[in-house]
């Protein structure tokens, strides 16, 4: 099995293939469309991530020491960003996630290129994943 760092490096490399921002968005939109459907009944207030302009729901399933994430958003680019995060963190152990520094997000260049309100939304998503992991360590 690949390490968390190896997967992160792959994601950063995939994303850096696109020079133009509109191409990066096309890629995120495509990821968003391909994200596994999220059950409507899980779209509850307690799964809603605060601080996003669009609505984002995150659900966690615990299996042994591993965490599995599912998520959805009503905005497709945001859904693509979540898809990136889930691709990296879903199925990893709580300890791995809790100890990660999330620095690969910075390498994607997403933070700088989202408006502060948007970057705030991204920060909320990361924060929710991190806090969930800490709860299960």
């Amino acid at each position: 099995m690949k390490t968390l760092q190896e997967i992160q490096a792959e994601v950063v490399e995939d994303f850096s293939m696109y020079d133009e921002w509109l191409d990066k968005y096309e890629y995120l939109i495509d990821l968003g469309h391909r994200l596994e459907p999220f059950p409507e009944e899980l779209k509850t207030e307690d799964r809603l991530i605060k601080g996003c302009q669009s609505r984002v729901w995150l659900d966690t399933v615990v299996d042994g020491d591993r965490l599995f994430f599912r998520a959805d958003s009503d905005a497709i680019i945001t859904k693509g960003i979540i898809s990136l995060l889930i691709g990296v963190y879903s199925g990893r152990t709580a300890r791995e996630i809790a100890e990660d520094d999330f620095s690969f997000i910075g390498q994607l260049g997403l933070r700088e290129n989202l408006s502060p309100t948007r970057a705030g939304g991204l920060a909320s998503m990361i924060d929710t994943i991190r806090r969930t992991a800490q709860k299960y360590v």
Binding site: W21, I29, I76, I77
Partner: protein, 408 residues
């Protein structure tokens, strides 16, 4: 006749690029760009005349005070207010409305009294009234809008009771871009002994304002939406009301004499201007209002009309687009368009347009009750200023088409 291209050169921000593309700034309802004359006045006040107002006996304080008070005269003339005592400087529309909510509330609102607020108001013209009513045990009543975004004036007489103290209405909604029939509303309210506050944040930019003709009791606006420095604002208040209202904040130059046994207050307008004022910012209102006057040029207004016509046609012809604030006549609409696009989230559209160099607004636009009214979580808003061109409108519509295609 003036050309838009020429006046654009007066606004440095408009020549900026974003992501290597020329900036197309269509978020003017949030804040307008500033002309060189405003930036120059701001810089001059900061660099040469930075002294506190009204109190010191030295040269630069004299100049700063003279500039500040000359600005009051200029604003009085611009609004056609009866006297300079009716012009109060604040930090913006929000501060102006909060001042009225507190001071008018203290003087005139008690338990069981009513305040009418329009459904299309900005949060800044909703929350202060909710806070006031909570403090006083008073009640907020809502004047609704219809499906096209027009105020239901027919319901107003039924809402007014002998307990109605104040009605709060935006001259132009920041979401719908429709000019509200303020004069008519004032007439109806006054014949029921109810005062009227007008939120002029958008109105001051897109309509000529004559507070004596409108006959409103309060008129609030922000400097930054009409090309002045941020953190500047105005409250016009009818003198007879302001005289009866207690101060909002204490301290600074709002005092007469201060004793442990009791304090007296300064006369108008200082009574409502506690603390150090926006020394550098407020004087920029003068060149800003001069610019607003200059922009009321037939050549520029003709271009704005072309923009409006083009945008209304383009948005209304597209079956995927739902426009909020549909005018009955073209005259009542300002070049501000909020809409949603079928199967596209407003935030996705705004993000893609941003990368095409276009600045627009997406979200609730500080009007959550209105979003609920139309059953949406947010909208996309494009708001034009007189310095925007038809070419920019065309670029926007073409870019919107591409963005929709990306999201389909």
């Amino acid at each position: 006749m003036m050309q838009v291209e020429k006046i654009r050169q007066e606004f440095p921000e408009l020549s900026e690029s974003v992501y290597g593309k020329p900036l197309v700034y269509l978020d003017n309802a949030a804040t307008a760009q500033r002309p060189r004359s405003v930036i120059a006045k701001w810089t001059e006040m900061s660099a040469k005349y930075n002294a506190n107002l009204h109190r010191a006996v030295h040269r630069i304080a004299d100049v700063a005070t003279a500039e500040y008070e000359a600005t009051r005269d200029a604003v009085r003339a611009y609004l056609n207010a009866g006297c300079r005592e009716e012009i109060l400087f604040t930090s913006g529309t929000t501060a102006s409305i909060n001042l009225v909510a507190f001071s008018f509330g203290e003087a005139f609102v008690g338990a069981g009294d009513e305040i009418i607020v329009c459904e299309s108001e900005h949060h800044s013209d909703i929350v202060p009234w909710q806070m006031l009513c909570e403090r006083k045990g008073a009640v907020v009543k809502v004047l609704p809008v219809d499906d096209s975004g027009h105020l239901r004036l027919d319901l107003l007489p039924g809402l007014l009771t002998p307990r109605t103290r104040l009605l709060c209405v935006a001259q132009i909604s920041n979401v719908l871009g429709l000019k509200n029939p303020v004069k008519e509303i004032v007439n109806i309210c006054h014949s029921n002994n109810c005062c009227v506050l007008v939120d002029g944040a958008q109105g001051i930019v897109h309509d000529r304002v004559d507070v004596r003709d409108l006959d409103c009791d309060f008129y609030a606006f922000s400097g930054h939406k009409i090309y002045a420095a941020p953190g500047t604002g105005v409250l016009y208040g009818r003198r007879s009301l302001l005289e009866q209202m207690p101060p909002y904040m204490g301290g600074g130059e709002m005092i007469g004499t201060v004793r442990w046994t009791g304090t007296t207050y300064a006369p108008l307008p200082q009574k409502f201007e506690a603390g150090t004022q926006n020394i550098a910012g407020t004087p920029t209102l003068r060149p800003a209002l001069e610019m607003a006057e200059q922009l009321r040029d037939p050549g520029i207004e003709a271009e704005t009309e072309r923009v409006k016509e083009f945008m209304l046609n383009a948005l209304q012809q597209d079956p995927r687009i739902r426009l909020y604030g549909v005018p009955r006549t073209e005259d009542e609409k300002i070049p501000l368009f909020s809409f949603s696009v079928e199967h596209c989230h407003h935030e996705d559209l705004a993000m893609i347009l941003d990368k095409m160099g276009i600045a627009v607004r997406s979200g609730q636009m500080c009007a959550e009750p209105l979003m609920d009214r139309f059953g949406v979580t947010g909208m996309l808003r494009v708001s034009f200023a007189p310095y925007n061109t038809l070419q920019e409108a065309e670029y926007f519509i073409a870019s919107l088409g591409k963005a929709i295609k990306m999201l389909e």
